[in-house]
């Protein structure tokens, strides 16, 4: 046996990286990935995981340290160099061309050709073959814009594989997926490994990490804390290594008995193609109560929340806050009535990445006399507001003037949450509040949501994470094909399996059962 076979497939030694703003994102980091394994990297938001991956993929350059591929030192000056060395990466935030079809996105940049012409038929065939081989099913001809997130991700993975990637880096692939899609992704990862590929996998949900990985590298505060075999790891052990203290994910809920704050009455909604996405939906949310919306993505719950937020027009029915219809009101007027909203997608909707954190934190309150008098901004107050919220929500950044784009994913989410909860809302709309957020922050956001509820807010919560819904909600509504098909009062007897069966339309409630939990 030669030493070559002994050396890890990909190794990083003593990597350090300081961003121009002075943030030390990686501090003497080491990682060794063996051929044919699923190597997980875990750590809190801002621990430096994405930065390390970007260095492995040549997007960022390390200030010091070295990379070795099968024992030989390599330098990746650009992603192209890393791709040529057989590394592929799917970023935390996708980079597809929305108007191009799936197969065009996959082959973009390395198109098969006959002569100088782009050989479409060959491209489509190759994409079909690749997706069958790795169990990553997508329709090659669909424009990416029309694909659900889970499929967009498959397109990203196929794109990396198409370029001959033997090492595949997946940066938080499961954060955007439904439980069903996670299962499918995992079977694809297993197929990849069975066929000799190596996967580096980042996730915040520890059960996922324990299920799919064979070894785990733990990062904290820019440093690698250690490496552990998955078979020796437990959730608690990992959590303690990551956070450096004990964590528990439990929230205490006070009983509630408030007045109805939000009333949705026989609401119908249509999508852009004029197909009905919400059909005759009625529900109420009381002050001091969290109502959870469960449903497989695309069954109408996201659209319902958009309509309440004032971002989608209503085809029929009514929405009222405190007994008053809000349909004639625009977003600003609804916010004026005490509505706050944490949107599903922080990048495309929740933030202006090119603006500073301080600016992002006041964006919804620019007509508030606190920040703007006579049309003039009070920069001092904006800064003080930002410093207050950064402190209260422990956002990891180097000052209120940092651009939102330079924050790690979890910290971006905290900025959104901080802005929406900087004042106690009357009605809080929440979608996927802890998507891509680490354990410590999840705990923190859950606590904040519960506190907001206890202080009297009516909270409407939509999440793909059923355990999150069960942990937080007082009542749960299940959406299936644009209708509420089941309603529950939360209790210890209620399980994710029961919810899952209703979400897939497999089990139904009697009208009496449903009515009991609807009011």
């Amino acid at each position: 046996m030669t030493t070559e076979n002994m050396a890890p497939l990909l190794q990083a030694i003593g990597i350090s990286k300081t961003y121009p703003g002075g943030v030390v994102a990686n501090d003497n980091v080491n990682i060794a990935v063996n051929a044919g394994e699923v190597h997980a990297v875990v750590g809190e938001n801002g621990a430096g995981k994405s930065t390390l991956m970007k260095i492995l993929f040549g997007v960022e350059q390390a200030d010091s340290g070295e990379l070795r591929l099968v024992g030989e030192q390599v330098r990746f000056g650009s992603p192209r160099a890393a791709i040529n060395a057989g590394i592929g990466m799917v970023f935390q935030h996708f980079s597809l061309v929305p108007s191009f079809s799936a197969y065009e996105n996959i082959v973009l940049g390395s198109e098969p050709r006959s002569g100088i012409r782009f050989d479409r038929r060959k491209a489509i065939e190759e994409v079909r073959a690749l997706s069958a081989r790795f169990r990553l099913h997508v329709d090659p001809l669909q424009p990416v814009r029309q694909l659900p997130v889970g499929q967009q991700q498959r397109v990203e993975i196929l794109k990396a594989l198409y370029r001959g990637g033997r090492i595949l880096i997946l940066d938080e692939p499961t954060a955007v997926l439904t439980p069903q899609e996670v299962t499918e992704l995992f079977s694809a990862i297993r197929a990849l490994v069975a066929q000799g590929r190596t996967v580096i996998f980042i996730a915040h949900k520890l059960p996922e990490v324990l299920e799919i990985s064979s070894r785990i590298t733990v990062m904290r505060g820019g440093k690698t804390i250690g490496e552990i075999e998955t078979k020796d790891a437990t959730e608690q052990k990992l959590a303690n290594m990551m956070v450096g203290r004990e964590v528990t994910l439990r929230v205490e809920r006070k009983p509630y008995n408030g007045k109805v704050t939000l009333a949705v009455n026989r609401l119908s909604l249509m999508n852009e193609l004029r197909a009905t996405v919400c059909d005759d939906v009625s529900l109420t949310v009381r002050s001091g109560e969290i109502v959870g919306l469960a449903g497989v993505a695309g069954n109408g719950q996201a659209e319902l929340i958009e309509a309440i937020a004032g971002l989608r027009s209503v085809a029929g029915g009514d929405i009222a806050i405190g007994g008053e219809s809000i349909l004639p009101l625009g977003v600003r007027a609804r916010r004026g009535k005490g509505m706050a909203s944490i949107p599903e997608d922080r990048i495309s909707q929740g933030l202006a990445l090119g603006a500073s954190v301080a600016e992002n934190l006041v964006a919804t309150r620019l007509d508030d006399r606190l920040f703007a008098r006579g049309g003039l901004l009070d920069l001092g107050e904006m800064r003080a507001n930002a410093e207050r919220l950064i402190e209260r929500f422990s956002i990891r950044i180097d000052g209120p003037n940092a651009l939102a784009a330079t924050l790690s994913g979890g910290n971006m989410q905290k900025v959104v949450v901080a802005r929406e909860l900087s004042e106690q809302p009357r009605l809080l709309l929440v979608s996927q509040p802890t998507r891509g957020v680490d354990l410590g922050s999840t705990q923190f956001i859950w606590r904040i949501l519960t506190e907001t509820r206890n202080a009297g807010a009516a909270v409407l919560l939509s999440s793909a994470d059923l355990s999150e819904l069960l942990a937080l909600s007082d009542r749960l509504m299940v959406f299936y094909r644009g209708r509420i098909v089941a309603a529950f009062r939360n209790s210890d007897e209620l399980t994710t399996e029961m919810l899952g069966a209703c979400m897939l339309g497999l089990s139904r409630q009697s009208p009496e059962e449903m009515r009991a939990a609807l009011a």
Partner: protein, 366 residues
Amino acid sequence: MSEAATTRRWAVLRRETGRALGAAIIALAVAFLIILFSSKTPLQAFATLTTAPITKVRTVGLWIDDVAKLTVAGLAYSLVFQARQFALGVQGQVYVGALAASYIALSPLGQTWCAIPLGIVCAMAGGALWGFLPGIAKARLGANEIVSSLMLNYVAIELANYLIRVDLTTPNSRLLSTAPFPSTAVFPALIPNTRIDIGLIFALTSVVAVWFALYRTSWGLKLRLVGHNSRFAQYAGIKEAFIIVSAMAASGALGGLLGAMFVEGRSFGKLAVSFEGNLAFEGLLIAIVARNRPLAVPVAALFYGYLRQGAQLMSIRTDVPSEIIVIVTAVIILLVASSYSVKPRAMLAAITRSSRPARTHVEAVK
């Protein structure tokens, strides 16, 4: 914390200055090469290009006068670009503003003290209207602002040409310009015997005003948020349509002001056909180099105005054709546009490596 912010700001400033200087040096090098091939006395021509603007008080005046105008044009573009509206209507606004100022100057009011203030107000109002139209068309009807603003440019230019010929010239004259304005309607000089007039003060005031509006008012923050992410702006409850329309109208007012600065300035003192010599459009370049930052606009204008003036003097005094300026401008645009979207090292790597052209694919997709 604020120390980190300050060092970062300096780092950004250094980087941006470096880029602009780099672009200027490469542009000069390209200019030199072109001159080498097109002139019999290349060294003399190049010397004219690089030094002529500062050799005489008069040429310095020409340069600074251009800088003032380029600054206002650059500001007008910066304002709409920050809201990510690609309105290209400054040229048309200049013509409309110039017309408005000319009508005031040539009316009985033109003989009184109020000729200049009234002329400027009317010019700005006219320009604002010309900016408002594509804005409202976009907000209400979804009309593409690039197309509608360019169309309105032609309307304004032809309108000005027509009015000069049929309405504003003295009868029987075949001149393509109006009679000279009365002296009450011409800007007083700041420095005697040069072209430098109070237009420079208007330009500097505009810089401060635009900076203030963008960075110190809630309107400006809303405008920038719309520019960064319009979906976010809607979600946050910002009235996007209002911001788009008002940004385009405000930018139009600057265009109108520029029109008044042209016709009431000492270099003209009358309205003539094609008076603006494409300068309004070159404001686009200033805005790109300055990255739409109002405080950087006059700096960029200073550099670019110098090159522009040098090229004009070169075309008069040497055998190099005046078209050279067009080529040099194009080179600067290319350099600037690419250096602002591509990292220089990556670009160099892309040039030196024989990579497949990405273009083929795009063609195939079309």
